[in-house]
């Protein structure tokens, strides 16, 4: 499939598609980060994670409308506000869900999977009733449009760079929180020995709830990023759940760096192959390669050895 | 010439991310010997059994059972070679009855199609009844294992091994968590079942050890600290210092 292009053309194609894949990478990283925090640290599978992302996307859409209608002179900044709203609202829903549903199912991982799938159906229908079945899109502020010419063949989309910087900073923030903050210490303590952590006075219930909430909040931010590459519809989140799970598992659950590396390789592979093959075949090939590797190396790329 | 040892453990080492839980350990077990392994918590006793039965993969060394290398075999192959293992915490199938627990350990029908074709014939019933009597559970055959006491579960697991009639039996703390009465009964049971096979027992209860041991190996930080008869080991100053002293 490479035969028709010269070397320099190929280089440019790789670079362009690579940059185009940056937003996908950002969405993957943020989604996977939330999922990995919840799954890696609590052993809970959240099948409704895509719907938390879409909630963030709807919040972004509403915020952009709000700014366009009432604060047009500030429209360039709506995205920042929207992200914060997305985080807070998705996070709040996460807290609620943990309280009402997840906490009853901690020792039954396969059951959380089914229950959260049920939740995802309910959320989809709720979005459909509120926002309608039609997909909505946001208007991107002027300063994020367009691209910077790098060479005469290669152009870099500004929103791609922006969203990626954002994703990486949020990842770093989560990393710092995990390893520096009191919450991070408590999460890790619970992860190693729940009973003992409870015995030394860690409020395991509240830590779990907060962890779930933060995971969902990050998914909400992923939704903000998502509005840049796709239009928001009630079932748009479902399409991302498999990819995101594979990103998490491929990276080796519990390894933050692994998650980022695997999000990068999967999104780039997909984006670059999309140029040469049809979109669906690129996706099939990427997924097949990932699943193939996982069959040979089930622990993923980076994994911690834990005593069973 | 017949082999003098049934089990030869040589240079056995396992390292978990650089931490050597078992460190160049060698010991030899004779037929019909009852070897007791003692040592402080975390000495690596359970890990040694895990290595022999294939639950943990060794980093280096060799484990030969009847001149066959166990380290190259899968867990179920090791069992079929004649090694039985009891876990530290009782592991029985709680959703099944005592009878069914024993039946699943009966050494027949271990392949997929063997298991599909397996018939509960008179020989199976007789053998299960026999074992159930040995482990004091003949009245509980139809009881679900979940309803047994802790001690009874330990017995049941021992029974599940006995029914396989292994040549080497490995028991990890068989009397831990038992009442005094249960302990006495278990000692009696063990004394009976160690008669015509080799046994490796891990135990902390010194009175119990003195009662059953042919030889004792003291493990400390993954290495042998001392080895010999109970008497010799008990009087070894190194052992007194790290283990028996307190």
């Amino acid at each position: 499939m490479f035969a028709d292009y010269s070397m320099s053309e190929l280089g440019a194609i790789f670079a362009m598609q690579g940059f185009a894949g940056l937003i996908l990478f950002s969405v993957f990283v943020l989604m996977a980060l939330g999922l990995a925090i919840i799954f890696g640290q609590m052993g809970v599978i959240n099948m409704a994670h895509g719907e938390f992302m879409i909630l963030g996307a709807y919040v972004t859409y509403l915020t952009s409308n709000l700014f366009a209608d009432h604060l047009p002179f500030l429209f360039g900044t709506y995205f920042f506000v929207a992200m914060i709203f997305a985080f807070l609202i998705s996070g709040a829903l996460g807290l609620l869900v943990e309280w009402s549903l997840i906490r009853h199912l901690y020792k039954r991982p396969l059951d959380t999977l089914l229950a959260t799938w049920g939740l995802s159906l309910i959320l989809q229908q709720t979005y459909r009733s509120i926002f309608g079945a039609r997909e909505v899109g946001v208007s991107i502020p002027d300063w994020m449009m367009g691209s910077l010419p790098l060479t005469d063949l290669i152009e870099v989309p500004i929103n791609g760079i922006f969203v990626m910087v954002l994703a990486v900073s949020i990842s770093l923030a989560v990393y710092v929180m995990m390893f520096r903050s009191r919450w991070g210490k408590q999460v890790r303590a619970i992860n190693q020995n729940r009973v003992m952590a409870g015995a030394v006075g860690i409020n395991t219930e509240w830590t779990d709830r907060l962890t779930f909430g933060i995971g969902c909040g990050v998914a909400g931010v992923a939704g903000s990023a998502f509005t840049m590459i796709g239009s928001t519809g009630p079932t748009a989140g479902q399409l991302y759940i498999v990819d995101t799970f594979l990103v998490v598992v491929f990276g080796g659950a519990g390894s933050l760096l692994g998650t980022i590396a695997s999000a990068f390789s999967i999104s780039q592979a997909q984006s670059i192959m999309e140029f040469f093959l049809s979109g669906s075949m690129a996706k099939v090939l990427t997924l097949l390669v990932v699943v193939g590797i996982l069959m040979i190396r089930p622990q993923g790329l980076f994994s911690l050895k834990l005593r069973k | 010439m017949t082999e003098r040892f049934i089990l030869k453990v040589e240079d056995l080492t396992v390292s978990f991310d650089g931490f050597k839980a078992v460190d160049h350990l060698s010991f030899y077990v004779e037929p019909n010997e009852c070897r007791v392994i003692i040592g402080p918590n975390g000495a690596g006793k359970t890990t040694v059994l895990d290595l022999i039965c294939g639950r943990t993969k060794a980093t280096e060394g060799s484990v030969q059972f009847k001149n066959k290398e166990l380290l190259a075999m899968r867990e179920d192959q090791i069992v079929h070679a004649g090694v039985g293992r009891k876990f530290q915490t009782p592991s029985v199938y709680e959703d099944l009855t005592v009878f069914e627990n024993l039946e699943l350990s009966y050494p027949k029908g271990h392949g997929v199609f063997g298991a599909l074709a397996f018939k509960r014939d008179a020989a199976v019933r007789a053998r299960i009844a026999d074992i159930a009597e040995t482990i004091f559970l003949d009245d509980q055959l139809d009881e679900k294992a979940a309803f047994l006491s802790h001690g009874q579960k330990q017995w049941l697991e021992i029974g599940m091994l006995l029914i396989q009639d292994p040549e080497l039996l490995m028991l990890d703390e068989p009397v831990a968590g038992m009442s005094v009465a249960e302990r006495k009964k278990t000692a009696e049971l063990l004394n009976r079942i160690i008669q015509d096979r080799s046994v490796i027992v891990i135990e902390h209860d010194m009175g119990f050890v003195a009662d059953i041991a042919t030889r004792v190996t003291v493990l400390h930080q993954g290495k042998t600290l001392s080895e010999g008869t109970m008497e010799r080991v008990q009087n070894d100053p190194k052992v007194v210092e790290v283990y028996l002293g307190h």
């Binding site: 599978i45 089914l114 040979i296 | 069992v79 599909l116």
Partner: protein, 374 residues
């Protein structure tokens, strides 16, 4: 002593009641259209029964059963499509004699892997063999490496996703989104008539009972008890001398075979096969059929498939929005409040009362069938 008998009297009664429903009550009470609809629901029951063995007994949750259902269904559909695509029927195509969707996609000849499906025996063998081989490959790769639990669920779900994207993407070879449609005859016998549909309904019911009896045999064999033992204490089973992976591979393949048969019967009765029956959503819905029936009970699985689908049809006809909410709530309710599904409710609540009512003796203890899976 323990009953190792193939069926207890109670189970026999359960089987007879189901047989009466499927072979007498439904055909008498339902019109042709509804009967065909129920036949369709029953094809999902094949999958649910397989799941009751894999997931309920063995603790292996597959979120990719739709793949096997689809493989079986497509194998059947390929045969029927070839039979329908005679040169006379397709004379107006630019390449007569190949299936219409191939012609629309500018294919000039039949792909080589379609060729064997001219033969009915090969197609019928493929209905079972293709899903089983596929399951075998996945099973060997995963289970010998001790992958289970949620990892296994995720990987199988990924397969469901891959399969749908592939089918949709490769329109020329698979019929794409629409699937393989416009199927007409089976060896010259028109399957679209009311009469044919009624006969197929009975064939389907009979096959379902064969599958149920096989499942019952497996459950009652030592292998069935081993599955339960593995679910609870995998290491103990391993150190009792069993190669645990082989048992998991077997039961996963058996589930795939059941699903494949179900898929083929779907194609025959409904008259098409499409990727909408393969993907993530149908696959996970099949799990809920099993869960609603009671994940441990093979008869429950059949009732679960019937009930949920019947509710889906009646609700989504009149209140489409309500259906998704209802299905979502069903997932949550089953997991949170009825982990043993209908079978559990029956054996814990209803049966003891019935017994007390009929013979004033003391009610018997709930059967082990109702034991929780955790």
């Amino acid at each position: 002593m323990q009953s190792s008998a193939f069926m207890t009297r109670k189970e026999l009664i359960g089987f007879l009641i189901l047989a009466a429903l499927i072979f007498i009550v439904f055909p008498v009470a339902l019109d042709n259209f509804r009967l065909n609809l129920f036949g369709k629901y029953l094809t999902y029951a094949f999958v649910a029964v397989g799941l009751a063995l894999c997931w309920g007994a063995g603790g292996i949750l597959s979120l990719g059963q739709g793949v096997f259902f689809g493989l079986g269904g497509y194998c059947m559909a390929m045969f029927l499509k070839l039979e329908a695509s005679t040169p006379e029927n397709t004379a107006i195509q630019s390449t007569p004699g190949i299936p219409d969707f191939m012609d629309w996609n500018q294919l000039k000849e039949l792909p080589w892997w379609w060729e064997p499906f001219y033969s009915l025996p090969i197609a019928l063998a493929a209905v079972v063999a293709v899903p089983v081989i596929f399951a075998f490959i996945i099973g060997v790769a995963m289970f010998t490496r001790r992958v289970g639990g949620v990892y296994f669920a995720i990987i199988t779900q990924a397969f469901a996703a891959i399969m749908t994207i592939l089918i949709i993407g490769q329109q020329g070879y698979t019929g794409g989104v629409n699937g393989i449609t416009d199927l007409r005859t089976l060896m010259g016998w028109d399957i679209r008539t009311d009469e044919a549909k009624t006969i197929l309904y009975f064939v389907n019911g009979a096959l379902l009972f064969v599958v149920l009896l096989v499942a019952q045999y497996v459950r009652k064999s030592k292998l069935g008890r081993l599955l339960i033992a593995m679910r609870d204490q995998e290491d103990r089973v391993r150190f009792s001398g069993y190669n645990v992976a082989n048992f998991k591979i077997f039961i996963f393949c058996l589930g795939a075979a059941f699903a494949g048969i179900g898929g083929a019967m779907f194609t025959l009765q409904v008259g098409f096969m499409s990727p909408t029956l393969v993907g993530i959503v149908p696959s996970i819905e099949m799990v809920i059929f099993c869960a609603v029936g009671g994940r441990l009970s093979i008869l429950g699985a059949v009732y679960g498939a019937l009930l949920v689908n019947w509710a889906k049809t009646s609700l989504s006809e009149s209140f489409p929005e309500l259906w998704l909410l209802g299905l979502g709530a069903l997932f949550i309710a089953v997991v949170m409040f009825f982990p043993n599904g209908l079978a559990g409710v029956w054996s814990e609540k209803i049966e003891p009362r019935l017994l007390a009512l009929f013979n004033q003796k003391k009610p018997s203890r709930p059967t082990p069938d109702g034991a929780p899976a955790e």
